[in-house]
């Protein structure tokens, strides 16, 4: 075995294949994306009335008040932080994450049902008590945290369970909200693959269009 020849072939083929797969291929794909599909290629960014970015059609946002349809609980609060107090640097890169709690872990039950404690620092409010206080019939997606912590959807059942609460807060008719939910539901691919989901950010934007929340 000739070592120099082996090493030389290994190095040369690495560089040749690197040029093809790591430089030419990504550049061509970037070009295709930016020229033919600029909206999707840049993250499906939604813009407001003045053209300013207000979120992504594919990424959820936190909603907990009665004026909006609430989103799922998130371990990273949907990659958000207060820009004035972002010690963890979340706003520098954006983050994703999950609880990774095992089904047998009692911490999962504590998080769902809450765990009162005299010390408010370690007391857990719990998803179920929060939903019950808000008058929302709990569904599985509203008590379990998502895989990415950025889930843009809630199930149609979870959206319907919130209609009365939002209708009351906004003084709208439940039938108007049902229509908005229908318009902002993403369906299964080909009617077969995946599950239907209501895009919470788009639904709430439509809600604001219908009746601004500060009115």
């Amino acid at each position: 075995m000739n070592w120099t020849r082996e090493v030389s072939r290994a190095v040369r083929s690495t560089l040749v294949l690197w040029g093809v797969t790591a430089i030419i291929y990504p550049l061509v794909m970037l070009g295709v994306g930016q020229v033919i599909f600029p909206f999707q290629a840049n993250g499906s960014i939604l813009t407001g009335a003045q053209g300013q970015p207000i979120g992504s059609a594919l990424i959820g946002q936190p909603f907990t008040s009665e004026r909006y349809f609430n989103s799922r609980p998130s371990t990273t609060n949907y990659s958000t932080a207060n820009p004035l107090a972002d010690e963890a640097g979340i706003l520098r890169t954006g983050i994703s994450g999950a609880s990774n709690l095992a089904p047998s872990n009692s911490a999962l039950l504590d998080r769902i049902q809450g765990k009162p404690d005299p010390n408010p620092e370690i007391a857990i409010r719990g998803e179920l008590p929060r939903l019950q206080a808000a008058g929302i019939q709990p569904t599985a997606d509203l008590i379990y945290t998502s895989g990415s912590s950025l889930d843009p959807h809630i199930t149609p059942a979870a959206a319907r369970a919130q209609i009365d609460r939002v209708a009351q807060a906004r003084e709208l008719l439940p039938s108007q909200l049902e229509e908005l939910i229908r318009q902002n539901t993403d369906h299964r691919f080909g009617g077969i693959w995946g599950e239907p989901g209501v895009n919470v950010l788009k639904l709430n934007l439509a809600l604001d269009m219908l009746k601004p929340s500060n009115s």
Partner: protein, 565 residues
């Protein structure tokens, strides 16, 4: 529930439907027959090979093939390790990320070159766009092509042909299979919503509370995502992998990913059938992993559909799906399907968090990685399957008192030693010994869940490394010096020892004088023989790991049935 089963069934049917087409295409490439890309690729490949110093490719022996493979992989490990360490000074680093620790960079380099893509980091906060596309994206192609090359060399040897030339097989796998499919797939992915941009993360005020800002990470994801699934790589651009809406935004992208994850390992069995001129045997062999796959999907899906009994009690219902760590758009069915596909094929991409799967899902995903032949890794899975076939020939030969033969070639001591010791025994060694060490040394395991599930976390991490899968029970605190170095050992042992042994085995099979088929020859293309092979796989591959399964997911299942205390 019925709708979920229809999704699963139709996906499986599509997997089978793709097999003969892709399998035949792969066979034609490596048999030197005409394919539709010839006019473009033949001159291009010749030029690329001559630039690589391979002007007149010679047929390699088993040792030569293995040494070329190891040299080229070693160069790639060093190359991408340097890119990671220098990323602060390299371009396309909009979030100004510094170099990772040396042990994390080393683990990542080894993990990606071995086609594992085990990640002890979160992509968006660790690696620059350049490190992602120029280092990780690069070895996603070469490591997958290395696997295909090994499978082709193995099939050639088994069917009495010379093994071929590693650099030719490597280049052809990329230029004729991986790259063309990636180009088409990446365009579909971009159209479906996966970003492909060099722009930095975007900061927006949230709608409900404008004093709170959201950072939306993005990047050149689509071209990376496609080779990640097609090459059985599985390393996510983002920390949370294909659960991230930018990696897998809808039912269409999820379906494409599922099909890509399994298409090459399934097709290679058909490719073998064409090489051996025995498609009947190929389809019979296909049945073994397919039945196991279907069974694992069923138990995983039932577990996730029925959900967590303790949580169902809180909800006051008998059944609610376990959606912890799952996305609404995938639900229980697509999440369970993805979890089993990705561990079956050694892809390791995830669209739900395996740590939060019910024990049935933990059992299925772990078992997939123990067996390694439920279609298995890119190329290597097919080769392991045939190594089992050779052992089954040997065992049945002993039972009936005949000289064992496979495809008219005698199986002798050397072949059995290679197949049993080096290919099949290295796997338990690379898993169970480091597990025992990690549990024995106090304070290094980093388990995030208590009890039986904690053990499963440790076992899963080493099984994933040794099987070159790359998924994880990600709650585990694995970004430590111990975890980085000890899993690096499992990654290297689980990848290169079996590959060298497979190539030597193929070499010695190809050199044997074929013996004529007589009435006394043990036929290897019958249902009975395939049944025996399945038994051998169960006894050799599964039983050695049964104790850890009993202490991990099985015990956890009983714990949940009794009620979480």
């Amino acid at each position: 529930m019925l709708q979920g089963w229809i999704q699963i069934l139709l996906t499986l049917l599509l997997v089978v439907a793709i097999t003969p087409f892709l399998g035949q295409y792969i066979a034609h490439i490596f048999l030197g027959k005409r394919t539709f890309l010839d006019p473009l690729m033949t001159p291009l490949e010749r030029w690329l090979l001559s630039c690589s110093g391979v002007r007149s490719p010679e047929n390699m022996t088993g040792w030569q093939y293995a040494s070329a493979l190891i040299f080229s992989n070693a160069v790639m490990i060093i190359f991408i390790f340097l890119i990671f360490m220098l990323q602060r000074s390299l371009p396309f680093n909009p979030t100004q990320l510094g170099a990772p620790s040396w042990d994390l960079a080393l683990h990542t380099a080894i993990s990606f070159v071995t086609n594992t893509n085990q990640q002890h980091y979160s992509g968006e906060v660790t690696f620059s766009y350049f490190s992602q596309f120029a280092a990780l994206g690069f070895v996603m192609f070469t490591s997958a092509a290395t696997g295909i090359a090994v499978a082709i060399a193995f099939i050639r040897g088994l069917t009495g042909r010379p093994l071929g030339n590693f650099y030719v097989d490597l280049t052809q796998s990329i230029m004729r299979i991986l790259l063309p499919m990636s180009v088409v797939g990446a365009i579909i992915f971009i159209a479906a919503g996966i970003p492909e941009t060099l722009a930095p993360p975007i900061i927006v005020p949230t709608l409900e509370d404008p004093s709170l800002s959201q950072a939306i990470a993005r990047g050149p994801v689509a071209h990376f995502e496609i080779i990640k699934e097609l090459g059985e790589n599985g390393g996510g651009f983002f920390g949370i992998n294909a659960a991230h809406p930018f990696e897998n935004p809808n039912g269409l992208t999820n379906l494409i990913q599922l099909l890509l994850i399994l298409c090459i390992p399934t097709s290679l069995i058909y490719t073998y059938g064409i090489f051996a001129n025995n498609l009947k045997q190929a389809w019979l062999v296909y049945v073994i992993p397919f039945v196991v796959l279907t069974g694992f999907i069923a138990i995983t899906a039932i577990g996730e559909y029925n959900g967590n009994p303790a949580v169902n009690d809180l909800l006051g219902v008998d059944q609610a799906p376990n959606l912890e760590g799952k996305e609404v758009r995938f639900g229980w069915a697509q999440s369970a399907l993805y979890a089993v596909f990705t561990t079956a094929s050694m892809c390791g991409a995830v669209n739900s968090m395996h740590d939060s799967l019910m024990p049935a899902g933990g059992f299925a995903t772990l078992s997939n990685m123990f067996l390694q032949i439920v279609f298995g890794g890119q190329g290597t899975g097919t080769a392991y399957l045939f190594a089992y076939l050779i052992l089954a020939v040997f065992i049945t030969g002993l039972m009936v008192g005949r000289t064992p033969e496979f495809l008219g070639r005698k199986i002798e001591k050397r072949e059995v030693v290679l197949a049993s010791c080096l290919i099949l025994l290295v796997h338990p060694i690379a898993i169970l010994i480091p597990v025992a060490l990690t549990l024995a040394i106090p304070g290094i395991a980093g388990m995030s869940n208590p009890g039986f599930h904690g053990l499963s976390q440790v076992v899963y991490e080493y099984a994933s490394a040794a099987a070159n899968n790359g998924s994880g029970f990600e709650g585990l605190g694995d970004a430590t010096l111990w975890w980085n170095l000890s899993t690096s050992f499992s990654l290297l042992a689980g990848r290169y020892v079996p590959i060298v042994a497979l190539l030597l085995l193929a070499d010695s099979m190809s050199r044997k004088q074929p013996v004529p088929v007589t009435i006394g020859t043990l036929r290897t293309d019958t249902g009975l023989f395939i049944g025996v092979t399945a038994g051998v796989i169960l006894i050799l591959g599964a039983l050695e790991f049964f104790p850890v399964l009993a202490l991990g997911p099985i015990a956890e299942a009983f714990q949940i049935m009794r009620g979480i205390g």
